[in-house]
């Protein structure tokens, strides 16, 4: 019988992590998701900076969810300084975040996850047999770049979304162009749903989960909201995020872990689908049924299917936003004027991998005194360990060589962003 399973380095995930499983008397004694990524200490880096310098630094926690970091950061600054932005600014920011969601999900599905299900070691190998599919993934990614460039000014690490609004607004022509490209994107996202519906989803990692996501701030599905919903039926105001993300430092990780009432929980596309999925309409609503996401399974491998549904959703919603912007006509407005003041505020957004919180305090000159950023992956880490444990328990009779890749598949399903989680490096001894 195995003594232990050690995966020294997870591949095809964002950042540096490993898995250690210790087995004693045929029972799983210990499961660790080891995070050895070097910390980048982002939070202390912004202490003392002026309020307008915070987002350009903190968006660089992650390139893949840079749009979400940018918007959550700006919302936190504005909440702290008591700034109200226009409805147009809110729509443009949502469009930026939808672009980020399309990019992230397309990358994860085509480059990182689908090779697992089709038995390929990499997207490069996948491309030799399934060139059309890989091309489709890259085209969806390109569409997402175009959205982020049109709204944020750059495809990665945007410059145009600033405190109070936007430096430059997209022209009517640029939005019409985007709308045209989104049509093709919608077809490709539906083809992605077809592709994912044909994949066999194994059930070795099924175990009950608590799901957490922001409640929708409007009728329908949304990536924004000021209440946190839990599948236990509880709700919290986003300002109370600390009650949910009660972080602890663990010895084997440079990322902190989150527990709610001492229990792990899951955030991300599947959590959103469980909590808000019934609000989906249009093609995304149909895709949800097609991929079997209208029932709760407790199997995190379905997170990939949830991402495919969200690809469709984000593309449909982007078109809706553009129609709304064009219908009202783009108002040439400058960012809201800011008066520095002391204050504390929190911004939250559903990033591709789950709920992302930025919370800041400022002194009366508008200089940051304290920053707290809780990333989705940090919240998921304890749940990943829970799923790894139940997977090993289900697979314990199989040879080690067969268990290890399955464990990596579980981790990959969460689409973890280890760099994000270790933006600050946090750990705890128990």
């Amino acid at each position: 019988m195995h003594k232990s399973i050690v995966i020294d380095h997870l591949c095809r995930v964002e950042g540096h992590g490993g898995i250690t499983v210790r087995i004693k008397d045929d029972k799983v004694a210990d499961v660790n998701m080891d995070i050895f990524e070097g910390p980048r200490f982002f939070e202390p880096l912004v202490v003392g900076k002026n309020y307008d310098e915070v987002a350009p630094i903190l968006m660089r926690i992650c390139a893949i969810c840079s749009a979400s970091h940018t918007v959550a950061s700006l919302m936190a600054v504005e909440s702290a300084l008591g700034i109200k932005v226009s409805p147009q600014t809110r729509l443009l920011r949502e469009l930026l975040v939808q672009g980020g969601n399309i990019e992230s999900h397309a990358l994860h599905l085509f480059c990182l996850a689908i090779p697992d299900f089709l038995g390929y070691p990499s997207a490069i190998a996948l491309a030799s047999d399934h060139l059309q599919e890989v091309k489709m993934g890259l085209e969806l990614k390109k569409l997402a770049n175009t959205i982020q460039e049109a709204i944020g000014g750059r495809a990665i690490h945007s410059v145009n979304a600033v405190v109070g609004g936007f430096g430059r607004l997209p022209t009517r022509g640029a939005l019409l162009d985007l709308k045209e490209q989104l049509k093709r994107g919608l077809e490709q996202s539906l083809a992605t749903v077809d592709l994912v519906s044909g994949l066999q989803v194994p059930d070795f990692c099924t175990s009950p989960d608590v799901y957490v996501a922001l409640s929708s701030d409007r009728a329908g599905y949304s990536l924004f909201g000021d209440k946190i919903l839990l599948s236990t039926g509880e709700t919290k105001d986003i300002g109370m995020y600390k009650e949910i993300c009660n972080e602890r430092v663990v010895a084997h990780s440079h990322a902190k872990q989150s527990l709610f009432k001492g229990k792990p929980f899951a955030v991300g596309a599947l959590a959103r689908m469980v909590l808000n999925g019934e609000n989906l309409s249009g093609q995304a609503g149909k895709a949800r049924g097609k991929l079997g996401l209208d029932t709760v399974s407790g199997n995190m491998l379905y997170n990939n299917a949830a991402q495919a549904v969200e690809l469709v959703y984000s593309i449909e919603r982007s078109t809706e936003i553009i129609d709304e912007l064009l219908g009202a006509g783009i108002r040439e407005e400058k960012p809201v004027e800011v008066e520095a003041r002391a204050g504390t505020g929190t911004g939250a957004v559903e990033a591709p991998r789950g709920t992302l919180y930025h919370s800041y305090s400022f002194d009366k000159a508008g200089r940051l005194t304290e920053a707290d950023v809780i990333t989705p992956t940090a919240q998921n880490l304890a749940n990943i360990e829970k799923d790894l444990r139940s997977s090993v328990e289900n697979l314990i009779d199989q040879p080690k060589e067969s268990i290890a890749p399955k464990l990596e598949m579980v981790v990959r399903a969460y689409d973890p962003c280890i760099s994000c989680a270790v933006h600050l490096l946090e750990v705890n001894f128990e």
Binding site: R40, V47, K135, I156, E247, P335
Partner: protein, 317 residues
């Protein structure tokens, strides 16, 4: 025969890897000529054998090695050294690899002070010791890759520019060397300059430059002459993409977004001091250089390695 490529990421956000994918179709055209032998972000190739059976780190030999990210801990240093041993040509990709990048802003603080803030004082964290179990020890500061091993090609940027990656790979495939010409962002920038400003006040980026999107680029006034701090004069050109399928003008990336340059491509030449050079550039057009807030950090934001940023001695009381 295909050229063997190994790619590694160290202290990163992933933006430079995403940039490699952003090459898009031209990447698929290059693929038959490239043989990726190691690339943890995309490929299941591990350091100590696929089942962890080996004792020594094993990175396969390659013609071209690409490293993104700076060096923050002992493990990243070890990976950089192994990459150097195994790769004939080594590329530092992105400003973190070339100059430490944003994470090197941490070089302004002693390591102990950073640990204090993040692990022990963080408001959502139960107070704790610094983690150590099985974790590689941190280095005293963030290092650029060329402070640890020799680097042959530097392609900076936060993130870098897909066009440059294609140019570099294409040159290396032909057996040629690749170097970005020593030109400034201003040398490449098409905006209209009149070599003077209207007043001495430096405006905040938030106030937003004057522009008209329907006008051609050479009818838009230089942002610095409009009174904004633009790091174009002291920053290496290379971020721009030629508009109109290679026929039109090249507009630097942030300028195209109607925002001033923030210096993410780093200094124009090795050994240059953007902090000093920028103060001169500001004064030369009549702006008051003393008004630049937090200037040591601001003008070295992406380039804090090579001891450009370091803890300042405490001021005498």
């Amino acid at each position: 025969m295909a050229v063997k490529v190994a790619e590694e990421w160290l202290n990163i956000c992933g933006g430079c890897e995403v940039t490699i994918l952003d090459i898009g179709e031209p990447l698929l055209d290059l693929l038959p000529e490239l043989d990726f032998v190691h690339m943890p972000v995309l490929m299941d190739h591990k350091y100590f054998g696929q089942t962890g059976e080996k004792d020594e780190m094993e990175i396969p030999e390659a013609d071209v090695g690409i490293i993104s990210g700076g060096v923050r801990n002992e493990k990243e240093k070890h990976v950089a050294e192994e990459m150097r041993k195994q790769c004939k040509t080594l590329i530092a990709l992105g400003s973190c690899a070339c100059f430490g990048g944003i994470p090197a802003m941490a070089n302004m603080f002693p390591l102990e002070a950073l640990y204090e803030k993040v692990f022990r004082d963080s408001k959502t964290t139960d107070s704790a010791e610094t983690p150590a179990e099985n974790l590689p020890p941190l280095l005293d500061r963030v290092y650029a890759v060329d402070e640890v091993v020799d680097v042959d090609v530097r392609i900076p940027g936060c993130p870098t520019n897909p066009d440059l990656v294609v140019q570099a790979l294409t040159a290396l495939l032909k057996g040629e060397s690749f170097e970005i010409p020593e030109r400034s962002v201003c040398d490449e920038c098409p905006l209209k300059r009149e070599k003077k400003t209207s007043g001495g006040e430096i405006k905040r980026m938030l106030e937003s430059v004057e522009f008209d999107q329907s006008q051609p680029w050479d009818q838009t006034r230089c942002y610095m002459e409009q009174g904004y701090l633009c790091l174009g004069p002291v920053t290496l050109a290379g971020c721009g993409h030629k508009e109109g399928d290679g026929e039109g003008v090249t507009v630097p990336r942030c300028i195209k977004g109607y925002m001033p340059c923030r210096g993410c491509f780093g200094p124009i030449r090795k050994g240059a001091n953007p902090l000093v050079d920028m103060m001169t550039a500001i004064s030369s057009i009549g702006l008051d250089a003393k008004q630049v807030p937090d200037r040591r950090a601001l003008l070295n934001r992406y380039i804090g390695s090579h001891k450009r940023l370091r803890p300042l001695p405490a001021r005498p009381k």
